[in-house]
Symmetry: C2
Subunit: 225 residues, 2 copies
DNA sequence: TTGCTCCATATTGTTGACAATCAGTCCGAC
DNA sequence: GTCGGACTGATTGTCAACAATATGGAGCAA
């Protein structure tokens, strides 16, 4: 399901280490700002430092770690300014993805989109508290639209970089965010704009959706350091 | 001036190799689609394969090379679909950068922006044929706006990834592109929208500017395989 | 006590050798 | 004549040792 869960399926030790590190960072197993000791991680993964260093270089490209020469790598810290930046970039990219998806998505993909929405609604009704599952449903929706854009660079940027950072953020604040109902409603509006092939509207709605999400999260973070 | 020209100033061999590789790829010294032999490059740079491999991992993150496990890395090929993707992403990101710049840029930065435009116009009048210099002026303008957004992630994405790919593209088609006059005019409009703090208009104009540039380049590429 | 210098230690950066994998070729069988 | 399979060569992936650099603390002077 999730592209990161097929661990151990990669070909090289570097790639496997990269996946495991990503997982560990996103889930919070490695805390934000924590130092990444090459020797420690290498022994933990049962590999040498060579492949591990390559993995760290890759994670640096994904913006999951920051590296300082001769001083080591640290897990990125998602402070407020950084998240503000992230949500602005996301607004731009997903807005564009939505516009393109409205033009390029097949009817089957649009059907899948509505199916996802129904599943998501059921999940909300059934277990009102499981915020984690809601989040994954949310990602499925946004990811499906990214795929619908048919723009590989856009897909890579969103799925490969931004969504990892967002998931990392949700693992910290998921229990706080309680705006699943309005979010679902906005998702429906977006899906309908896409179904009507209205790219302008689809982009507008997606941007408003993400902008609103940031306002909500930003407010929550004000009260929770 | 250009952030890539302070070669040999990096701290580690990996970083230096990364810069040199970027330079070589952007300037076409390494042709598109060309295979990157680790042993060859390592001896050419006078370093070992370890740091070189890390550099390649980093370039992979910048989308300048594509790597296939056990088969090596190749310079990315900027074919038509890829460039179409790139210009769409650029439209989204620079549109957002422009919107934010209209709100966040200081008066001094805006003055600098107009100064760049004057310099650019002079350069065009003086040497009407030097397309290369024009391109660099173009980048200076767009880069200044990216900086003005105050969004570090946006700046990194544009300056660190997209602009490298664009420069790589220009090194191939610069002698063909002859729309510097209208481009300069559009730049002026954008700068004025920013000066008037009209974020909506600034974003609209920037998106139109980039979208137009793609149409022009796309047409040129149709006649030149 | 405070601040600086110097040294010991741990960590990162780099290297060359070794192992694993892939691509192309040659040979033989059908 | 053509297809299949094993061999050879080259290339990539991995490792463990070595060199270079930064961190942290002890000792000393103001």
């Amino acid at each position: 399901m999730s592209a990161q869960l097929d661990l151990e399926a990669e070909r090289t030790l570097s790639d496997r280490a990269s996946s495991r590190l990503t997982q560990a960072i996103v889930t919070g197993e490695l805390a934000q700002g924590q130092k990444l000791s090459e020797a420690d991680l290498a022994t933990r993964f049962g590999i040498s430092r060579g492949p591990l260093r390559e993995a760290i270089r890759q994670l640096e490209g994904m913006r999951l770690v920051t590296r300082i020469p001769h001083a080591g790598a640290r897990v990125v810290t998602l402070d407020r300014p950084m998240l503000a930046d992230l949500y602005r970039v996301r607004e731009a990219l997903e807005g564009m993805a939505c516009r393109m998806a409205a033009q390029a998505m097949s009817q089957e993909e649009i059907d899948t989109l509505f199916m996802l929405l129904d599943q998501h609604e059921e999940a909300i009704n059934a277990a009102d508290g499981l915020a984690y599952f809601q989040s994954e449903g949310d990602f499925d929706f946004h990811f499906q639209i990214a795929l619908g854009s048919r723009n590989q660079m856009l897909i890579d940027l969103l799925a490969g970089e931004l969504y990892q950072l967002l998931r990392m953020c949700r693992y910290r604040t998921s229990h706080l965010a309680k705006r699943t109902r309005p979010a679902l409603q906005q998702h429906r509006q977006i899906a309908e704009a896409i179904a009507e092939r209205d790219g302008d509207l689809a982009e507008l709605l997606m941007r408003r959706h993400i902008s609103g999400a940031w306002k909500s999260i930003s407010q929550i973070m004000e009260n929770n350091p």
